[in-house]
């Protein structure tokens, strides 16, 4: 629980930096559209289109914040005398009766529950709103895909685990005579288990693997679907799992040396290793499907999106420059 709290706090502190770095490439909407959005006069499609810009534009976000705050300030500037008129109240009362009738007949989605009910249902998964037109969020899709993969592995893994346990049994016997050999046997068992699990996952998928050669013939990488990365140093005789799951389908790779490799994939996925062992994720120029990469070294590479647009970095992905087509 303490770790979770610490994690939440750390995430919050990094959020401001990450959000502030977001940049929208679209031109900002004019005040007429921004005002219509605030008045909820736009169609769902128009509002969604604007929100995709607002999500990344700190200028528009600041304007929206000012607008919302000024609304409460000006509500007192409206003609107050009308509020005292019973005639003004009549349509409001009628609307309240209609709203009550609608609520009784069709309870709203989980999101509209009053705060008093929130405590009871706080842990329940939120039902999708009845008027939603968009499909499940990318995060929900990813979670469901992950669960599906994990369930598959859980079903298949017992045979792999059985092999590991067998090896472990051997290691226990060995431990009574040689601790070093027992530790080595446990490491080998763990490696076999990881490799077996990855192989089971790959067997479950029908798409072919992607091999990434290096200038050294005996060393190469390969991408196993849906998003695993393995490395071989004996010309493919054996493979070592380095990344079990990148969280997205990987589509292309480039290895300028036997220790440097860049891999790209869907939704702006870019991974890189500079020592042949440890991988890290590089922030992409945009969250689009990347279908090709050409790497020069650990800091310089060019990525190509599915649209054909190319971006280049010379500082390890800290900044990207769009290239002329």
């Amino acid at each position: 629980m303490e770790d979770r709290r610490q994690g939440d706090t750390a995430i919050e502190k990094l959020l401001a930096r990450s959000l502030r770095d977001a940049v929208s490439t679209d031109a900002c909407p004019d005040p007429g559209l921004v005002a219509a959005y605030c008045d909820r006069s736009l169609s769902d499609a128009e509002a969604a289109h604007l929100e995709s810009h607002f999500a990344s534009c700190t200028r528009c976000q600041a304007q929206l914040a000012v607008l919302v705050r000024s609304e409460s300030a000006v509500s007192g500037a409206a003609a107050p005398t009308r509020l005292l008129s019973w005639r003004w109240l009549a349509p409001l009362a009628a609307a309240a009766v209609v709203a009550l009738a609608v609520w009784v007949i069709e309870p709203g989605p989980l999101d509209e529950q009053a705060p008093a009910e929130r405590a009871e249902t706080a842990e329940a998964p939120a039902a999708p709103p009845p008027t939603a037109t968009s499909p499940a969020t990318p995060v929900e899709d990813e979670t469901r895909r992950e669960l599906s993969t994990m369930e598959q592995v859980a079903e298949m893994a017992p045979s792999a685990l059985g092999a590991a346990e067998k090896a472990a049994d051997t290691s226990i016997v060995d431990e009574q005579t040689s601790p070093e050999r027992a530790a080595a046997a446990r490491d080998q068992a763990a490696l076999r288990e990881r490799t077996a699990v990855a192989a089971l996952r790959a067997d479950a998928a029908d798409t072919p693997t992607l091999t990434i050669p290096t200038p050294v013939p005996s060393t190469m990488w390969r991408v196993r679907p849906p998003g695993a990365i393995e490395r071989s140093v004996d010309a493919g005789a054996t493979w070592h799992l380095q990344v079990p799951d990148a969280g997205a389908e990987l589509l292309a790779g480039s290895a300028p040396t036997d220790t440097i490799c860049w891999v790209v994939g869907r939704a702006g996925t870019i991974l890189r290793t500079e020592d042949g062992q440890l991988w890290n994720r590089i922030a992409a120029p945009a969250s689009v499907d990347l279908t090709a990469v050409e790497a020069v070294d650990g800091r310089s590479a060019t990525v190509t999106a599915a649209s054909g647009i190319r971006h280049q970095t010379t500082d390890g992905g800290q900044t990207w420059t769009r290239m002329q087509s």
Binding site: D8, D30, G32, A35, Q63, A65, R281, A284
Partner: protein, 321 residues
């Protein structure tokens, strides 16, 4: 759908054959909307003709659909959604009718000045902001000269297309100019917390942990993992986060913006934060192969790097709301 992006500096189309043809094509609809506008603002009767309003409606359709060719049903549906009473008032003011200006001064001007006072620190600054917009609404004297088409600035009312209330549109212009002035002047407005507004420098003497050569790398990996997780969120979730952490909006303000209850905003923010943390930990575990201890170290470095405690602020806000 062609979203025509523009600023108040866009040049409006001048009335001509296109607008006349539009009014002829949609005569009955224009007449019905004109009647509705006069019913909403009886003081404009006899001051705004159906043709003048029709020209404004034609400009609004052109602004909305751009180069698209909407069907008659789409045009009708769009026009029915407009605030025609306010559009008629804007037309009459742009034409210079005194009665229309009296209505504007009585009903709309107080809102403009109240909004300007609310966002400016001093009453004088607020009045200046409102005065500048008021002057542009009035336009240049030559705009009302008879005969011919004069170059030069036209009334700001020409840029109002009726998609919102007139008061909201004016507040949006105020907001845009205020934000642009702040950004241009590089003044620090308390628009956000975190390491933005009121930037603080971490006290080196308060760093408890031993120097770690991998500190920068750990923080960089964690930041990259968080950025990747943020890119997976949908637009409304990212808006919620930005409004809360960058713009320092309250839960109630975010709720008013997105049309949600304050409690809903709070619950969704909690859910988003939890998912982000889980995504970051998954990334660090599966891609960077970090152990649990290394992840804990990442968090520790992040907490030391940025001494603000947003959680404290959040808890304080929830208690007071």
């Amino acid at each position: 759908m062609n979203q025509k992006r523009g600023t108040p500096n866009e040049k409006p189309a001048i009335g001509g054959p296109d607008h006349t043809a539009f009014v002829s094509r949609h005569r009955s609809l224009v007449d019905r909307l004109h009647a509705r506008a006069i019913a909403a603002r009886p003081g404009l009767a006899g001051r705004v003709s159906a043709d003048v309003l029709g020209e404004a409606l034609s400009r609004s359709v052109a602004h909305r659909f751009g180069d698209e060719t909407p069907t008659p049903a789409e045009v009708a549906s769009y026009l029915e959604s407009l605030h025609v009473g306010d559009l008629a008032l804007a037309c009459a003011c742009a034409e210079g009718h005194e009665a229309a200006w009296e209505q504007f001064i009585t009903e709309v001007r107080p809102t403009l000045y109240a909004a300007a006072r609310a966002l400016a620190r001093h009453d004088d600054t607020g009045r200046e902001l409102a005065d500048s917009i008021y002057a542009e609404l009035y336009g240049l004297e030559t705009d009302r000269a008879p005969g011919g088409i004069r170059r030069g600035r036209r009334s700001l009312f020409r840029y109002f297309h009726g998609r919102s209330k007139l008061t909201t549109w004016l507040r949006a212009i105020l907001a845009q100019r205020h934000v642009d002035a702040v950004r241009a002047g590089r003044r620090f407005e308390p628009l956000g917390t975190g390491d933005g507004g009121g930037r603080r420098v971490p006290d080196p003497s308060s760093t408890p942990s031993e120097p770690d050569p991998d500190r920068a790398r750990y923080l960089s990996l964690m930041q990259a993992a968080l950025t990747a997780a943020l890119n997976q969120l949908d637009d409304r979730d990212r808006m919620r986060l930005s409004c809360y952490y960058i713009q320092a909006m309250t839960l109630a303000e975010i709720g008013r913006l997105l049309g949600e209850h304050e409690a809903t905003v709070s619950r969704k923010l909690d859910r988003i934060r939890r998912r982000l943390r889980e995504a970051v930990e998954r990334e660090l575990t599966e891609v960077s192969r970090f152990t649990a201890d290394e992840i804990r170290l990442c968090y520790q470095y992040a907490l030391e790097d940025l001494p603000f405690d947003l959680k404290e602020q959040l808890e304080g806000e929830v208690q007071s709301s």
